[in-house]
Amino acid sequence: MKLGVVRFPGSCDEVDALLACRRFGEAEILWHRDRDLHGVDVVVLPGGFSYGDYLRVGAIARFSPVMEAVTEFARAGGPVLGICNGFQVLCEAGLLPGALLPNTGLRFLCRQVEVGVANPATAFTRACARGERLSLPVKHGAGRFHASEAELDELEAAGQIALRYAAGHNPNGSARDAAGVTNAAGNVLGLMPHPEHATDPLTGSVDGGKLFESVAQHVTEGAAVPA
């Protein structure tokens, strides 16, 4: 499996993401001006403050040249993982539903949270059991997931809210405790917690590795997900 981590101007978690990816496969950095994805099997949009997060979080990054290739890749079923700012970029790009708003408490949050796997049948959660709890760090100022009530009902019914903050762990006021959301096909996942910061025992949790294990299975065994 070969993973590509996109570096936007203002990204800051791309090196951690790259190192996490290398625990599970080959990985390289993709530059935001690249128009092709160097043949990677998986694309990761990392955390940070792409283009200074000017205007709105993720709003400018969505127009960078690499996003055209990422959009085409995602629409063809390629697995795409958006972490934190990457999640915000995917929402702005229309590859994921909803939007991310400033945290209810207005503070930048940096803490460990518990997240439950609500749908283990996606490209990035298939190595998890339903209801499995993952301990992952969050660090963001705008992580409050928002969609209309009707859309939230649809997302829930379709299993697109794949990861949920455990009771008492919703740090930012996200609707329906959504921590991670997928597209309808389940090949694109965006989440506010940082799995790439939870792959080394030194950091206290290796639960983030489950997402990379999942996509490795997805790439090597094919897209068919056990029901």
């Binding site: 205007l55 709105r56 702005e92 939007a99 708003l101 400033p102 209810t104 207005l106 409050r144 969609a147």
Partner: protein, 78 residues
Amino acid sequence: MKVRVLIRPKEGILDPQGQAVERALPALGFTGVESVHVGRLVDLEVADPACVEEMCEQLLANPLIEDYEVQVDDGGRA
């Protein structure tokens, strides 16, 4: 032509920034303040103001969470 775009959080969406300002004002002695909302203002000069609506839809605002209002300064000709 000068155009001003006003962008504000959609009605009904929790606006913690507005709430924080609303709570801060009474501390300075300003009473009777309610419904404070904080938005964004974009000033631009454009050759064709007709395209500003499209700019808002595509970039300046996120229609999922924000409302926008386009004000064209036609130099008092209208």
